[in-house]
């Protein structure tokens, strides 16, 4: 069975791929494709945040996991959500230049954030939540 770290890391990678497709289409001013690709990316990011904010993080904190770092992760989610909101607006305006600047920014914020989750937080989650891992993964996949 997959660990939480493996499952969530694979989800990060899937979102990265969608990010790259959307960025390429937007910068090529191919707006019909960019709109579809961005919307897939945006939805999957929202789903990933949902898995963490509604299932994983509350379970982690209530099992005695570190509340401070979870708070930091939530703050970074807020940053990422704000960037995604601004990117959605540039897709609507078909502004490739602005999209490129925002996606460059998002990429670094997102990669830094993922790096911390993948290297630290998910490992702690696998350790603390080992007993209920299967049930948690089921609940996350249901989102």
């Amino acid at each position: 069975m997959k660990t939480i770290a493996e499952f969530m890391t694979a989800d990060h990678k899937a979102c990265d791929d969608e990010f790259a497709v959307a960025e390429q289409a937007a910068l090529a001013n191919n707006w019909s494709e960019a709109e579809a690709a961005f919307s897939t990316f945006h939805n999957d990011m929202a789903r990933h945040f949902g898995m963490e904010e509604d299932v994983l993080f509350p379970a982690l904190v209530s099992a005695g996991g570190p509340a401070g770092p979870v708070h930091v992760m939530l703050m970074e989610h807020a940053q990422i959500k704000e960037l995604l909101k601004q990117m959605a607006a540039t897709v609507a305006q078909k502004d490739a230049q602005k999209y490129g600047g925002l996606s460059e920014t998002l990429l670094i914020v997102m990669q830094q954030h993922n790096h911390k989750e993948e290297n630290i937080l998910y490992g702690i989650a696998d350790h603390i939540l080992a007993a209920e891992r299967e049930a948690l993964l089921g609940r996350m996949q249901a989102i």
Binding site: A20, Q24, P66, V72, G101, Q111
Partner: protein, 432 residues
């Protein structure tokens, strides 16, 4: 498990790293001035005072300035451990490094022992503080990964390279009887092959996949690569330290080092070709130019072994390709990612007011066309540098290229700082 690394509140204030980045371009301008004041073509003789002075302006005042500033910023992210007393460490590296680099370069330029004697204790202080702080940070980091090992070995190489550099400067100043040639070779091989190379390797393991969404470096490369390079470097020094070491050790180890370095360049270029993010930016091109230069540095060095008649010429080319092509390209490419991100990150922390006022995105902080101009200018300077040992006019082009790069990069950094200040003021006004 330590979690302090995840706290954004512990990120040092933005003026800490920007101080290093804003000063570094001035040293490129100084390097150009020193080359301009040389008697004849400074690239013809690797012991020319002007070339020594300009080289140390670039390695200490420019590259080490940026590397030390950047490491203090990114080490916490890469290995998940804070630098201790970060503000003090920043001041006690920045001030003595600045003064030490100025004194050492002018000491070489003017052949002035007093300046040299003031320079080496200051440089020693800067590196001692930096090395102690980084080692503490590495010791505290719980994460065990290839990046951490690489950076650790890189810092160990730096400590020996810096100590030998101090000894050499002191020796030159006071006319001590020292085995100068052997010490200088050891100093250069640990500074470039150890400190610079292993630092680039360690940082690349993380940032190459991150910035361009490439596959990760293969396991065979991350697991033993840096310790092997480090061991090869140490074995390479054996014939210098012990007369009894077999003569072929140096040849075999040097060849092995360059094969390994070339291998890293090829793997990195292949990963970048397989990147999922197809967008090309100036920073990626600086990185690719750096890797191609590393390959050339390896080829030139092997050529110097195979063609004994032109050995000195190819050796000079190898050092130029490594220093200006590999190290300097990567430093500049990274800088063009780090500065816009830092400005954005620190402005965005202004919260709701920052969003209301509007934080410029990364591409609105340093205009991209400037980065591209800088990339082409840097490529031109590098080409001129490879021709300079044979062609006097090219030496002038290198001087001009370094001068313009210093001005351009300085302008880019100051633009980033002024965007930060302007926006921060507006955020403050909005919250008043």
């Amino acid at each position: 498990m330590r979690m302090t690394s995840l706290s954004t509140e512990q990120a040092p204030p933005i003026n800490v790293p920007l101080r290093f980045f804003a000063l570094a371009p001035i040293f490129l301008i100084l390097a150009a001035l020193m080359l301009a004041m040389a008697d004849g073509n400074p690239f013809e003789n690797t012991h020319a005072p002007a070339l020594l002075a300009a080289t140390h302006c670039i390695t200490l005042g420019f590259m080490a300035m940026i590397m030390l500033g950047a490491i203090q910023q990114i080490l916490p992210v890469l290995i998940g451990s804070q630098m201790p007393v970060s503000r003090l460490v920043a001041w006690f590296t920045f001030l003595p490094l600045t003064a030490g680099a100025l004194l050492l370069s002018s000491g070489f330029m003017l052949s002035n022992p007093v300046l040299l004697n003031f320079s080496w204790p200051l440089l020693g202080l800067a590196f001692l503080v930096f090395i102690a702080a980084s080692l503490t940070s590495l010791a505290r980091a719980k994460a065990q990964n290839a990046t951490k090992i690489s950076i650790l070995l890189s810092i160990l190489s730096l400590s020996v390279a810096a100590a030998l550099g101090m000894l050499l400067a002191r020796g030159h100043a006071n006319g001590l009887s020292l085995p100068y040639h052997k010490l200088a070779i050891t100093h250069i091989s640990l500074a470039l092959g150890g400190w610079v190379m292993l630092l680039v390797v360690g940082v690349s393991y993380q940032v190459v996949p991150m910035f361009q969404l490439t596959p990760n470096y293969p396991k065979w490369m991350t697991s033993g690569y840096s310790p092997v390079i480090f061991t090869v470097l140490l074995l390479n020094l054996l014939p210098l330290l012990f007369e009894s070491a077999p003569f072929w050790t140096g040849f075999v180890m040097e060849t092995l080092f360059w094969l390994l370095a070339g291998c890293f360049a090829v793997v990195t270029l292949r990963l970048q070709n397989r990147r999922r993010r197809r967008v090309t930016d100036a920073s990626l091109n600086f990185f690719r130019l750096g890797m191609i230069s590393l390959l050339f540095a390896a080829l030139f060095s092997l050529a110097s072994r195979l063609l004994p008649n032109t050995s000195d010429y190819f050796r000079t080319l190898s050092v130029l390709a490594f220093l200006l092509g590999f190290a300097m390209s990567l430093v500049q490419g990274m800088l063009y990612k780090i500065i816009p991100f830092l400005v954005w990150f620190h402005l965005f922390r202004g919260g709701a007011n920052a969003i209301k006022v509007g934080v410029p995105n990364m591409k609105e902080i340093i205009p991209e066309p400037w980065m591209w101009r800088h990339f082409w200018l840097h490529g031109g300077t590098l080409l001129a540098a490879l021709l300079a040992p044979l062609w006097n006019a090219a030496a002038w082009l290198v001087t001009l290229g370094l001068l313009l790069q210093g001005v351009l990069l300085g302008y880019a950094v100051l633009t980033g700082i002024s965007v930060y200040r302007r926006t921060a003021r507006r955020i403050e006004q909005a919250s008043a």
